[in-house]
Structure formats: structure tokens, C-alpha cells
């Protein structure tokens, strides 16, 4: 497995885990209080920060663990990356209709913020998944 493919796995797993952890914490805190009254902002910022930090640390670990590999992405890695980003980008563009609609309908910030986070997480997941399928089965 190339360094770029390992990095894609890392990005997918870290983003999925941090998003699921965020949901678990927010839903866990709601209890008897209404969901929109949960103080979700620190949890969301913590989840995003953790995702960035874990991705950086994981990426460094991948580079250290596989010193013999070609770490620099080659032409195939770049083509797969462009393909995944294109499909992910379409997901992002379509998905952003949701928070846009919620904003126009003047929903609570809780729903708008969570819709944006959901769409970004979906974009990261689909883009990474598409890349991994392309690595295994070709573009």
C-alpha cells in the first residue's frame, strides 16, 4: 500500500471516528433537555481540532513507519486524488443546499452548524471512500 493510500485510509477513519464521537457526546448530553439547548460548540470545535491533530500525527507516523516507500505521490496517486476530490466536491456542493435552506428558513444555529458539519463529514467520507475504491479497482 502506498503512502498516499495509507494517508487516505487515515483521513477517512479519523474523520468518521471524530464525527461519531461528536454525535455520541452531544446526544449523550441532551438527556432530558432539548437537543438545541446542548452546548455543542466546544464539542464540535474539539472534534474538528482532534480530527486535524490526529490526521497530522497519523501522517507523520505513516512517514516514519515506512521509510523505504516512495513517500512522494506519483502520477497515479494524483489522478486518484483529483477523482476523489471531484466526486467529494460534488457531494459538498449538493449537500450545502441543506444548511443554506435551514438558514433561509431561520432555523436555530444548532441545526445550521450541525448540518454544515454533517455535510463536511460526508464530503470527507465519500471523497476518501471513492479514492480507496479507485486504488483497489482502478478509476
Amino acid at each position: 500500500m502506498s503512502s498516499a493510500e495509507k494517508g487516505t485510509w487515515l483521513y477517512l477513519i479519523v474523520n468518521a471516528l471524530t464525527y461519531v464521537a461528536y454525535l455520541a457526546i452531544v446526544l449523550g448530553r441532551s438527556g432530558t433537555t432539548p437537543l438545541v439547548e446542548v452546548d455543542y460548540v466546544p464539542v464540535m470545535l474539539g472534534a474538528i481540532g482532534a480530527a486535524v491533530g490526529l490526521t497530522i500525527v497519523g501522517r507523520i507516523a505513516i512517514e516514519i513507519a515506512g521509510p523505504r516507500e516512495t513517500h512522494r505521490p506519483d502520477v497515479r496517486d494524483r489522478e486518484i486524488d483529483h477523482f476523489g476530490e471531484y466526486v467529494g466536491g460534488v457531494t459538498l456542493a449538493v449537500g450545502m443546499v441543506l444548511p443554506f435552506g435551514l438558514t433561509l428558513a431561520e432555523f436555530d444555529h444548532f441545526w445550521i452548524g450541525n448540518a454544515i458539519y454533517l455535510v463536511f463529514s460526508t464530503y470527507a467520507f465519500i471523497g476518501s471512500a471513492i479514492k480507496l475504491v479507485a486504488y483497489r479497482r482502478g478509476i
Binding site: M1, S2, S3, A4, E5, E69, T70, D74, V75, R76, D77, V133, A134, Y135, R136, R137, G138, I139
Partner: protein
Amino acid sequence: MGKPTKVTNEIRRLRFEHGEMTQADLAQRIGVTRQTIIAIEQGRYSPSLEMAFEIAEAFDVALIDVFKFASSEGANA
């Protein structure tokens, strides 16, 4: 997506005919990862024209001796 490429190749055979050259050796010669060589050999990735020429050059053979386009095989026979 996932459809096998129509470009077939003789890289595996040529590697063995050239002193059992490893995939890693060939990858290093043309400046790609070993995974890319594996993907080309297995027909999961069609290299660019430039990379195809580099592969042919690594074996010191003509491009047509390395790569063939599936739909043209009958026409060339």
C-alpha cells in the same frame, strides 16, 4: 469505475526476461511507486503515453512490444 482497462501489457514477462527485474526496480527507474507498477500489470491502471514510453525504454524495446490495445489485437493479427 472499476472497469478493466483495454490496454494489455507484457510487463510481467519482460521483467522476468530482464534478469527477473523486480516491480520495485522498475518503479524506481520510471519514478513511480511499486503500487502503480502492480496496478498497470494487473490492468487496473492505464499509464500515460509518457510513462508507457519510459517503461518501454526501461526494457529497451518498442512501445508495441509492451502495450497492446485489446480491440486492435484482431485487426493486427
